[in-house]
Symmetry: C4
Subunit: 300 residues, 4 copies
């Protein structure tokens, strides 16, 4: 993905952040910024690795806590661990706010919001004890799980994936709306044909069944009981087959286009200016002149 002269997407993102949040010029704030927000120095890399480990551990704690058996045995240990994590993440969050020049901009950015909702639940549960109802606690635990999305900031491929999605967003929106229309009409059809007695209790329920069927998941909690219903279901399954092909086509075409624009674009013959030579070519295929060596770009 790298071509001569360009920086990695992560470094590009780091520079954008530095401008937006306001990287300090000097002092402890500057040193802290370099460690926390950037990964060029050894300390910066260390910090990132520890943070990833902490995030994974804290999420694992939440997951373990949901298993009734484990909660019964180690519940108090897990809750203590949870407070430790909350404390660490709180310190990290406040430090981040402290060492940028425009703290509000960080607080309102994507990762800033995630950082906040990663530590809020424990405090809410602490200050509003009545919120310790079973349902609220479960919702609060949910929010902690969002910490895991901080990991995407460390991997370059996610920007590539995000870009591919952004490029196709209009096609995807049209495709989704088409699916919605088909699901609505087919669902209503089945609601009329089968009726509430056979499980299709309302049009939304029938639409849920239609999505289950067309996406080929097929739970089987609701199934057609009439012959006409089975016939319509068969047609929907074949249609789902075809519709399934469309997002596959979109994604594959996008990836193939990215792939095919790579290998032959960078080399230009100094004589006849022909482009698109194979990576291992020593001579220009058009005029036969010798060409300089090719440094292959790394990465997939």
């Amino acid at each position: 993905m790298n071509e001569e002269g360009s920086r990695s997407p992560l470094q590009a993102a780091a520079r954008a952040d530095a401008e937006r949040f306001g990287k300090p010029e000097a002092g402890w704030r500057h040193k802290t910024y370099i460690v926390i927000f950037e990964a060029d120095t050894r300390a910066g890399k260390r910090f990132d690795q520890w943070l990833i480990a902490l995030i994974l551990l804290s999420v694992f704690t939440v997951v373990l806590d949901s298993v009734a058996g484990i909660r019964a045995e180690h519940g108090s240990t897990l809750r203590a661990l949870e407070w430790v994590f909350t404390a660490i993440f709180t310190v990290e969050y406040l430090t981040r706010l402290a060492c940028v020049r425009h703290p509000l901009r960080y607080a309102t950015s994507f990762f800033g919001v995630i950082d906040l909702i990663a530590i809020l639940p424990s405090y809410i549960a602490f200050f509003i004890p009545e919120a310790h109802l079973l349902i609220d606690v479960r919702i609060l635990r949910l929010l902690r799980v969002f910490r895991v999305f901080k990991l995407t900031g460390y991997v370059a491929e996610y920007s590539a994936l995000g870009e591919a999605l952004r490029a196709s967003r209009r096609k995807i929106a049209v495709f989704l709306s088409f699916v919605f229309m088909v699901v609505l009409v087919m669902g209503t059809l089945m609601y009329v044909v089968e009726g509430p007695a056979n499980g299709y209790t309302s049009i939304p329920m029938a639409m849920y069944w239609a999505i289950t069927t067309m996406s080929t998941v097929g739970f089987g909690d609701i199934t057609p009981q009439t012959e006409v219903g089975r016939f319509i279901a068969s047609a929907m399954m074949l249609l789902g087959w075809g519709v399934l092909a469309v997002p596959t086509g979109i994604v594959t075409t996008e990836m193939a286009a990215q792939r095919m624009s790579r290998p032959t674009t960078t080399r230009t013959c100094p004589e006849c200016l022909t482009e698109g030579h194979l990576p291992d070519a020593n001579f220009c295929r058009h005029c036969g002149v010798r060409m300089p060596r090719y440094e292959r770009d790394p990465g997939a």
Copy 2:
């Protein structure tokens, strides 16, 4: 998707409609036509947006009315709303008929028919009170849901999708007939091996199960109970895997072909303005004039 000099598919469709239905020359009919049928003016755009909102709202009403709980509570409100929508759509329909010169042609066009079946149900239910049997009312509600297809007229990509499908229609027909034959033979095989006692009560029922299995939906309402049956089912699942690949291949190849024919769009012959030359072309393929060198176009 737009190339210099050509109109968007929506405008092309609008011009075709104007010819077919007979756009009036002057007077209130001309002004009304521009607002209702075309989207070039501000009033025309406004009208379209209101219409889309009304269509979505009316469909939402139908969906809500099917949920037993909501119908019990707000049934009368929903029915009143339904009459309001019917009235609005009736006025719109009659205005459309009134402001074209060939009303019959509009009434028999695709959207004309949808407009009609979108308002008929309420009138049928009103004038034939005995038709208020539960089944009839449900069928009438179904027809209203077809209003949602009017939305496809607003989005250009649907014509692209329609064209891709039309281009591959013979391949699709052959594929479907092949699937039908395999489903028929495999279904009969399972009917013989398993028999009605195990759920395969007839060949059509076995064919329904075969489609369920080969499309990988797998409801589980019918499952093979004999070892031979399970063996045949395993073979069918692997076959379904391969067969699933075919429509994906058709769609992906079609999209890739459309995609790859595009890098030829950026080059325009200075003489005859023809677009879409091959990247390495030196001469225009239409008029033979020499063309400037090709700079690779960025972006997808």
Copy 3:
């Protein structure tokens, strides 16, 4: 698929048949051969259309006869119809044998065998009345369904599909053996982990479940009950996702290769002999010379 100078695959097949079976030179046998085996004359085309209709009708009869309700009401009618069809197909079969010069070669060919097993069942059921046990009759009916494969002789795309499959047969065989190995090992693993008590009664049963899971059909008749089992099942589902991509890749690549070799291969500039011009080019893109008109090949 057609290029200037070549005949359609159907005609090529017809010529091959004529050589193999021995097309008669003159007399009523020659006239009959032209009608039955070839489709160039109006009578030949008529014959083919009637035969297709009869095949579809007879298969439809078999399907209807399997539905208990319909058999109870119209059983005798269906059986009478079945005898009519058997008679017609017998006459057709005997005529085919009579009007070729090497009847044995036809009788042993693919379609010859299908013709025979299409009429045998009724005679077997007639001459061996004890064979009227429920199971035997069902098996006999199965054989009649094979008539439907005669229809593939009429459609050119099936040869294309057959060729694409034959070209990839080694890749397909390797893929299938790989799937078999994974299913065997995973199935054994689940048999050990879950055990017969949870439904995994033997390794073959566990392999059936493994195919159900990896092909994403997921009947649900057998499901993992232990946590380790669920973990292994999750890994298998993700693996199945990836494995599903392979046949899709094989088929798509094959279709794309066929597609991309078409548009630009046939045209050659008379001056500079450059090949691969776009279908609508009037001037050679290399030397600017005018080129003769291009007749586009029909078909998808």
Copy 4:
């Protein structure tokens, strides 16, 4: 896949093995090595065929032994056969170790380990009779099934498949981590919304359900019971649809790239015998010599 002048992947692997394990120079060890480790001679090929047959037979024995009915009838026969196989494979293993110069290197290689765990179980069961508990025996049988992976050494395509996977490993890792994150968050969401009463007893259980749903397997052992749950499930099924497209895109692009780099294989420079030039090349890219015009190669 073979190009003029290069050896097949199997022979390349054989040469690598000879160097690593130490092929003996002379004597009975040399003769034995040629038969066991290489397949160039008739004896070598014979040996390989017999070994494949024995492997398949021994695995088949394990599979049959798991079916309760067959074990009851033929249990002792199967166990005797198992000892025969164990004896044969032990002799083969010891011979392999004896006829290489660095036996330890073979014992620690991939196939060396598989050979060992293919024969160990029977000995463990023999020398530690208390290990004849039902569970242990089943685990021991599992290990024997790994013999089947020895077959992959005989087929060239597996190296191709392995290479394609190795090339995309980073993309695959990123994709899997993304899936893990989505499954974690969606699973937690459903755990909160539905709760243990509806089957979602813990977050790991909910994650298992999420994988079942997003991979479109859809067992149906756990299904959403609340309307919010069904809505979230619908969103997940549509998301799964899109996510399913990604590995398909990776694999297809990889296969297409391999495929499209092949049309360059037929052209050979008369001077340096380099193959694989671009179709429109006039000069060899290796030595700069002028090359004859390109005739398009037929076939895939």
